[in-house]
Symmetry: C2
Subunit: 451 residues, 2 copies
Amino acid sequence: MERLRSGLPDEAVVTDPDVTASYANDMASFCASGTPAVVVLPRTVEQVRHVMRTATELRVPVVPQGARTGLSGAANAGDGWIVLSLVKMDRVLAIDPVDRTAVVEPGVVNAVLSRAVAEHGLYYPPDPSSWEQCTIGGNIGTGSGGLCCVKYGVTAEYVLGLDVVLADGRLLRTGRRTAKGVAGYDLTRLIVGSEGSLGVVVRAVLALKPAPAGQLAVAAEFPSVRAACDAVCAIMARGHAPSLLELMDRTTIRAVNDLARMGLPETTEALLLAAYDTPDPAADLAALGELCTAAGATAVVPAEDAAESEMLLQARRLALTALERITGTTMIDDVAVPRSRLADMLDGVAAIADRHALVIGVCAHAGDGNTHPIVCFDPGDPEAVRHARESFDEIMALGLELGGTITGEHGVGVLKKEWLARELGPVGLELQRGIKAVFDPLGILNPGKVL
Amino acid sequence: MERLRSGLPDEAVVTDPDVTASYANDMASFCASGTPAVVVLPRTVEQVRHVMRTATELRVPVVPQGARTGLSGAANAGDGWIVLSLVKMDRVLAIDPVDRTAVVEPGVVNAVLSRAVAEHGLYYPPDPSSWEQCTIGGNIGTGSGGLCCVKYGVTAEYVLGLDVVLADGRLLRTGRRTAKGVAGYDLTRLIVGSEGSLGVVVRAVLALKPAPAGQLAVAAEFPSVRAACDAVCAIMARGHAPSLLELMDRTTIRAVNDLARMGLPETTEALLLAAYDTPDPAADLAALGELCTAAGATAVVPAEDAAESEMLLQARRLALTALERITGTTMIDDVAVPRSRLADMLDGVAAIADRHALVIGVCAHAGDGNTHPIVCFDPGDPEAVRHARESFDEIMALGLELGGTITGEHGVGVLKKEWLARELGPVGLELQRGIKAVFDPLGILNPGKVL
């Protein structure tokens, strides 16, 4: 502690156990965490370097943290670890409309950046549901997605360059400020999604898009999940480029209504939400609506205006919170499949729910084939817990069987470590371990995560 | 040779020195190459694995090759090496309009794939000037760009998953077939742009876009390169999304006219070519044209139709060939700078040309800030050669000084190896070497390239 304090201002070092305990974990269920020895809240790159030099010297594990909204336990601390919280490094350093770039510190909240760039007519697309809380550093760590990814892609596609403090305190500058660049191996992309296990991101150069026109949404009701998936396939096969394309099943619709009285149609089996942010969204939505009707939609209801559109999105964003209220606890899965297999995936999830007599609500970034089956269970009932865990695993097994991945956007953390080995296979796993050893030979950076 | 032949059909092994000599190098100037011992032309993954197992066993260096249209010497062979040419593995294995993916072997020619997916209403954007010759495997190896990248991005953004034969013959499957995925470190992206130094790509899952509407182009004439660059900045700052935005200087314009009698305006100092592939390209081009006029354009001439648009693009694609005719030899640089520094970059290049009394033609993917200064010189004149090399280096130094990169899309190869060390710095370089050692501990895969 003495060594740590020697390079940090007093207020950056927190040891009060009541406070440090609150930094022990992120929002994942079923992920063990320990009692950190100290929480450090640096404000400068030099302070981060000091923390890592000290950690290396004394062989103390470090877990870098953002807002701890993650869902895989990647930000969980172990006993005696240093929590390195980057939330105080929260400055937007530059926004450039000509280069369409922003330079930010890792603790900038996603929504804060989004609003800051909007003032320059620019747009930072990645929009996880937690965008009002989560930080850019955390988004980079987990490779976050969001609703808009079906059109705009995920966090990785917006990270041009990074400053990264390595395990031993050295500073790596990687990537670029330019639109293009192929100088050497892509270390920048390697850091994205590495969940703080390769280095600590202290600065990021992000690519921005021009702000699109306002978004207009439509809701389409389907008599079955499969029919809704058929519509998704038709929409994508016909070259549509909606700015979101989301699916909610009946369980989720009802839960959202119960929570927020949104007035979603409860008699329908599946709801598809789509939006366009093109110059003429109404015309594009009309064409998309026709494909929904052809696939069996019983109703296609366009939003009247931007406000009503935003309400539909809000309903979707509430899904997880709403489902949590059913039984008190949930496990949220994050399996992505080729979108042509989306219907098979969701039918399979329904069969798994039946087999385990569990409620599993489904919402999905349907246009991306990225499903979030949400297993609801009573944490006080050991049988229910066992069934929940089993069904969670069966969902991942099904995803892999359908040519998918165990995680579309939430990451591996501790929650899916064993499953990662299954997805990667022995050759991939060995190479990943080799890379980890190159960056962190002592294994002090977020040990036991990802690999 | 016996060991090699034991796992390969006769016709896959070429040892005739006249033939093997023709596989010694790519299209880069000033890059040494040696005499390969043998050229292997496998048709199956198993044959590639056999080659790599043999090479590992006998410690023989291997250079993977596509169409050898590269411009950095990355595909050059050394004395006694095995050339592993992937051009016979040229099948398009699958095209899926719902998933918007293609699965291809590495030897598929870029233009062949582009036409194949177009039949399904799809679009594979990356379009290097050599697209009628170059292969997808080569594009992945170098991380190729092209004209359309200002709107659609580079090769890296279209590679979802890869099958890679490692140095010791093991098969790595990395990445995904899904739209999203964050399972583990991004080995896929690490392979892209690694110039055959980490593994041999034998299969790729590529992302596709819906086919855009036909492209309409405009040519704008400027009294100075700086005025053209100002127009580029205004266009990008105002949120325009042209499907190409190219700049040619006077030297290049004249060379193209000399070669192909294109009738480009010779009295102008700089020509900006822009195109739109939106539903109403004429309207979008009109708005863009106004920004050109405001920046000082003396004429803004829209193409009459798609055919005339294609002719303008053709003029741009001829630039390198045209400039080569001036003095017989060229060195093409590939420096990318933040687009806000484009004018400074091009003014600097003009000053370097003056100082060395050399002709340096410039064409640029201006919208990306990616410049191709093309140094023309008489290879028989040692003084000219010295000046050419010096100016080539000064251009890279200037690019780095302006916050740019030594290579936007051509790669490092042998041509820019020393410069890569300068761009990366010691920390980045050490990590890159560590990664190389993880993939290729014996150093038999394209040794001496990149790093």
